[in-house]
Symmetry: C2
Subunit: 137 residues, 2 copies
């Protein structure tokens, strides 16, 4: 995304070849790569890019809110470029495919006060699971 690179420049980031490639790998809809998947794709266009740079850059993108970190399965974390439109995830239990989805209503509102244990609840993540069209055969 050129707009992502533009926002990074405005934040004072140096636009290195590595950062351009990582931004490019992260563009598109329903993209939820692990760090090593991002690295594998990046290496195709910039063979000498290191794992450390991919981890560093993803961590920085997460910390400024341009990318979301998604922990779906206790395995590797996944990185989600769709950080500006709140959404939830639908995951195939068999092949692992992940889709962005938009449930109706506000999930936060479904937790009654007497179930909040005095917490100041500010955020909610919803993960739907099931079989995708190709996996139910």
């Amino acid at each position: 995304m050129t707009d992502l690179l533009e926002r990074l420049r405005e934040r004072g980031w140096r636009l290195t070849a590595q950062r351009r490639i990582i931004a490019e790998v992260l563009s598109g809809d329903h993209v939820h790569y692990t760090a090593d998947e991002v690295h594998a794709h990046a290496v195709e266009r910039l063979p000498e890019i290191s794992r450390a740079t991919v981890y560093n850059t993803l961590g920085e993108l997460v910390s400024i809110g341009e990318v979301l970190e998604v922990s779906t399965d206790g395995r590797a974390k996944r990185y989600d470029p769709n950080a500006h439109r709140p959404h939830q995830h639908l995951i195939c239990s068999r092949c692992g495919t992940i889709r962005d989805v938009q449930p109706r209503g506000n999930p936060l509102a479904d937790l009654p006060d007497d179930e909040r244990f005095g917490f100041a609840v500010s955020q909610v993540e919803v993960t739907y699971r099931g079989l995708c069209p190709s996996c139910r055969g």
Copy 2:
């Protein structure tokens, strides 16, 4: 819990000292230990119990549905003995405390058909996050 051990015996499990201790560590409400935390508690009562046995036993308990595996943060998985009453989780963003909670309604029903992408959706996990009473000071 004695009833857990009873159910395991009915399934033909050998009731070893290791399994008794692990079942004991996993008893109580709002218990969500990592495998290594289970091991640390178990070692207090049975110093020679091995990590491998704890991992094996937890994995078996999960596969028969007596314990739930919860991936809260992309770090270590947590093991939840409250497997017979469906519930969701409320987690403190600061100290990590986890409480079992019961949202109202059926979260599955909030995903419209046109947001299901042809999936056969069968399960939903909801994680609420916020600050617990001691952490908002």
